[in-house]
Symmetry: C2
Subunit: 409 residues, 2 copies
Amino acid sequence: MNPDPDYSAAYVALKTDLPGTAEGHGFAFTIGRGNDVQRAAIEALRPFVVGLPLEDTLADLGGFWRELVYDSQLRWLGPEKGVMHMAISAVVNAMWDLKAKLEGKPLWKLLADLTPEQIVDLVDFRYLTDALTPAEALEILRRAEPGKAERESLLVADGYPAYTTSPGWLGYDDAKLVRLCKEAMADGFQQIKLKVGSDLDEDLRRLRLARETCGPDIRIAVDANQRWDVDEAITWINALAPYDPWWIEEPTSPDDVLGHAAIARGVEPIRVATGEHVQNRVVFKQLLQAEAISFLQIDAARVAGVNENIAILLLAAKFGVPVCPHAGGVGLCELVQHLSMFDFLAVSGSLERRSIEYIDHLHEHFVDPVVVRDGRYVAPSSPGFGATIKPASLEKYAYPDGPVWSSAP
Amino acid sequence: MNPDPDYSAAYVALKTDLPGTAEGHGFAFTIGRGNDVQRAAIEALRPFVVGLPLEDTLADLGGFWRELVYDSQLRWLGPEKGVMHMAISAVVNAMWDLKAKLEGKPLWKLLADLTPEQIVDLVDFRYLTDALTPAEALEILRRAEPGKAERESLLVADGYPAYTTSPGWLGYDDAKLVRLCKEAMADGFQQIKLKVGSDLDEDLRRLRLARETCGPDIRIAVDANQRWDVDEAITWINALAPYDPWWIEEPTSPDDVLGHAAIARGVEPIRVATGEHVQNRVVFKQLLQAEAISFLQIDAARVAGVNENIAILLLAAKFGVPVCPHAGGVGLCELVQHLSMFDFLAVSGSLERRSIEYIDHLHEHFVDPVVVRDGRYVAPSSPGFGATIKPASLEKYAYPDGPVWSSAP
């Protein structure tokens, strides 16, 4: 479904009048055309941000989120979905980046150090209360308080599990697939992921090869990138069953809660995962209510930023569904690791069946690139949310005046 | 939820190199801030439109729709929702306006004159086949063929039922409410609509007054504009039951299929209606599958234009749910009447429980304004889709250089 991506981002820099150079950074990730539309959407938020009193704003980021999401005129363009919601994500995440930098903590640590009451204050429960009330959220967070310090030591010592999509892209020949599977295992990954859905015979061959190479203990997830209708999905996935896929990701439209639920029933015991294109917490709520997913895949930059992802982590914890984030793209690994680490410390309190996608691509453009070692994300120690792109990269790739563009044929 | 609208539109004009001045017009309706974002989204579609061969394009508007909706890079910004989808709506509708003008027919007539096979070709069934297959769609359309000519005569003679929202805005005093109810009845309307959800005691008083004024036979719909969570909706709506509301519209988030289904079960026999903010056919499919709505409210300019609305009309017919369009705003009445009239002639074949919203606002800016007489929309006879704004209005209100803006304080 995404055959020709041209990885791009609409980048936000929040500046302050404090002494020093602290800036808050965030971005909307796009795959090329439409990056200008994201830029225009972020521009539309300028009046909601420029001139705000810094201290008061950072002290109430729940309120800041509501100001952006519930502006009645902008809300008409969604509500809470697509271009406008991704723009809000960029701005909200930039504000969190700024706050974490000013407090001198990586975001995961800043969030984990908040009290349960402070965390609940960040979340907007509108449209959620039939599944999760503020009182239930508070209970989840209080239940995770004991052991938090021990989990933090564990996290800092051992990192957070990662899985790799590198062997799995369509179009690799068999030799390359086998080689990349072996490399993934040598690098310590316990899970890999293969793209499927273009040709069933091809999928069967690639999956057999991967399973033969990896043995029975490595988890092999498969990802259909929304290719199928419901009945087609069930037939296709069941055909893959002999190779024991760990999950089937995005079998159909990300808007189709009932479709995912039908697929989940139709492919048991294979598990359904989705989320990278799920527009907001209301759809995640329903995926959980309908028992449509066994893994919930948050994305750091599609829903409206940190606050909404906290709501989604709480929903997942309420329903006992593990969160395994989508990442890759531009900087999505850098961001989302903070949210999973916060989940481990303060929300679900668990690493069981949990891992963060890892794609080794474009990290060199970030000031604080992710570090993945022995198949695990190393907990970042630099202050902030990891969203800061190197000035040299910003300059080189700036559209349309950067040298990469101006020298393009 | 929409307290301070500033009615706006991002307007599209498609020009051709044919002799004459035929242009295709379409627009995305917004309520102010964010109109620039819509404009940027429409600009992003320019390369998909400019330079197309006219005849081939107009002969395959199903193919044209797919080119826009399935562009893989733009699709990342949705998929199929919000700003980008509304932009596609504007362009697709403009293409239909152009086609209808060139064929010298109002759009409703152009569509109704197509064969069932031609209509099915316009529809993309991806993600729909678990609810509606092309064969089922064909069967629905063939079933409506007999009697089409008689229904057309009836439509031209008597028009299509309308209902009015004019008495129902929040903030009117009691005398004005009563007066407007009386006027609506005198104007021949069989249904009115009242906004609710701000204050229950107020709602009860206003609804009682309206019911006393209108008597038992006028339908009184109520509209909550997404204000409630699920449980709150059920409690509130049941409190209104003594005044026999005809439907409750938008009780909660338009994304919440399961929420609407729970509300529908919780407020029977009061019927649930929604759709003006429903993002695409996949969500409408689920609302029907979940038996969440008794009335389906299409909007002419939120889903991706005529083609997607045909898919939604077919889905509604399959599930036996009447379509009662949302209208108002800028030009939404002008557009959507064509779709309901087409539905009557060629899809559902019925007027039962069907009516189109009517709001008497801003029609003076349109070259072919709607005509509502004796509580019914008069079938338009001018060629096109009714989307053309008068040149004088375009000039006066053009942002930011039109005199209305340049002379603003």
